[in-house]
Symmetry: C2
Subunit: 358 residues, 2 copies
């Protein structure tokens, strides 16, 4: 009986989760149809036909368009009009893709979402040029938004924050880049919780925070609402990165759509699971683990070995609770916003972010 | 007597040239003192102390600040106030340096103005991040300018033009980049005058044109004056690039401050002297020349050989006349602007651009 009951509970929960996921997917797809034409329009401004083909490649690779959806939902929760959210949402998705283009170059990543990355497809020189075009487009989107001055300022600040987070993430790596003296010299040998949070808040939270802030701004929301949405976005962003870190180590390759253990392969200390595992390891385990991270060449058996070491610790549960804390904070912020169906939707997004399998 | 006369004429001409050069240098230095603090201020916005150090490196390497001077002079010729030109001038100099950072990465250039380039100093990953910060700063400068919306649009458009020119310049190369499939596949085997002019108008003229246009805009000049200054800048930019191309092949290393024959070393067809020489070469000479440009490794004796082949042709004179034509057009445009001392100064800049030895 007890068993049956729990089974039923799990089923109900699964059903509820599935419904929420379907609802979120429904809006992501619906809004993508509104935002993608704007993205294409902006990217096509002031470029030749040849350039257009090169530029469209990155955004045509797909992506959930999660960030534009946050801008739209943030606008709607403050009773704004959806059409006012479209250009800034497009700008933020271009900004996101801008960082991905350079991220893939820096990390030498050959595949993204199962497709050749921009640099792998066109070469690094052309990829950099394409990146510069994205950088310029971001502000053409800002200029087509309500409150364009403030939004342009937010875009600049966000880029600078993401860049700083990216640099920290690189400096948290334990090996590679032997030809890059500055990195070799300034590399972190170990990181604190503060270091981790600083990196995450800059690399991931700042952009998700900007998505929500901009949505509120174009809705001409009150100061207190803008603040609440910034808070929501910031905490959601932290949880988003934490969950990404967990999936990187413990996800199912077929669900996640990315290679498991990529952060180990990239020798990162800046993964929350690795961070928690290192705190728990015996000095022998720690030595063994760091030896892998500092190897010249990391093979798939090394990744397995590292993951097995992590599995002996409570790093997964600890990381999950850590992420849940940010979700709670994000949901707390929603209380300061109008109670409507979009408020509920933002709350569901928060739950989804921490529970998702991909 | 005749000889003496010509000598005297040369001396007077030299003196006049020297005076003009001194005058131009005087204003470049004077205005640099006004613009550089704005550049530093803008680059420092929204970044940490660590980042500031990384970011300042590129602009601290020097440079003539020729582009900001054009913005200021264009503002002054239309009776604008110099203080209105400073932020946009800073933005345009940041834009110029933004393109240099990526240019040096793409061309693998280790030195610029005798100093290690950003990527050579910090590694390519960090250099790319620094570049992204420059990209974001450009629009923070636009936002601090009068007429910020229009100026921001011009900045975006200019970046996209420069990028397209850069891609053409890469596609005009005759070898290298074996790992970059797109370039290998789309490389030009020979170029027409139209191809050359398209590349120059995008890579160089578009930015110099923008410098002059923006100066007129912040002076709240009349439509006809804005148009005249755009024309001036566009033609000046073409002449500037043509003269740079001539100096690359025929300059004196000690004057020019750059390695002579760099364009040959970089296997470029997109140099006006090379373009004119190729038109004049016998088929045997052409074959010999292109064989050098397509070599796996170009040694200094190869460069010498290529330059000697060029010296047999009238490419130098032809290129110079070609450049002079643009200077004449630039000066023609000045007739549509207020007659004041800044009009004269812009005319002197035009002469200087084609006559300079560095």
């Amino acid at each position: 009986m007890e068993n049956n009951n729990s089974k039923e509970e799990i089923n109900t929960n699964n059903k509820k989760n599935n419904n929420t996921e379907e609802k979120i997917r429904f809006f992501l797809e619906k809004w993508t149809k509104l935002v993608d034409p704007k993205i294409k329009e902006i990217l096509s401004l002031s470029v030749s036909k040849r350039m257009q083909k090169l530029i469209n490649y990155q955004v045509a690779m797909g992506g959930k368009r999660f960030r534009p959806a946050l801008t739209i939902a943030s606008c709607l929760v403050c009773n704004g009009k959806i059409e006012d959210a479209l250009y800034p949402a497009a700008g933020l998705e271009i900004l996101h893709n801008y960082t991905l283009i350079y991220d893939d170059i820096i990390d030498n990543s050959e595949l993204r979402r199962g497709k050749p990355t921009v640099w792998f497809n066109f070469g690094k020189s052309i990829a950099q040029c394409i990146g510069m075009d994205y950088g310029a487009s971001i502000f053409q989107a800002a200029n087509r938004s309500k409150n364009s001055f403030v939004i342009s300022e937010i875009f600049s600040k966000t880029i600078k924050n993401v860049v700083e987070g990216e640099i920290l993430d690189i400096l948290f790596e334990q090996s590679k880049r032997e030809d890059e003296k500055y990195i070799m010299k300034n590399r972190y040998k170990n990181i604190t919780e503060d270091d981790y949070l600083k990196m995450v808040s800059k690399k991931t939270s700042s952009l998700i925070c900007a998505c929500c802030e901009v949505g509120a701004l174009v809705a001409e929301a009150r100061e207190s609402e803008i603040k609440a949405l910034k808070n929501y976005g910031f905490n959601l962003g932290a949880a988003f990165q934490i969950k990404d870190d967990i999936l990187d180590i413990f996800g199912e390759e077929k669900d996640f759509g990315k290679k498991i253990g990529k952060d180990i392969e990239e020798r990162k200390l800046g993964n929350v699971v690795i961070f928690h595992a290192l705190k728990e390891f015996s000095s022998k385990e720690k030595e063994e683990f760091l030896k892998i991270l500092r190897k010249d060449k990391i093979e798939s058996q090394d990744i397995k070995k590292a993951v097995n070491l992590i599995k002996k610790t409570k790093a997964q549960e600890r990381s999950f609770s850590f992420g849940e804390k940010y979700i709670e904070r994000a949901k707390e912020s929603l209380k300061k916003l109008p109670k409507n169906k979009w408020n509920e939707f933002l709350s569901e997004i928060a739950d989804f972010v921490i529970k998702r399998k991909k």
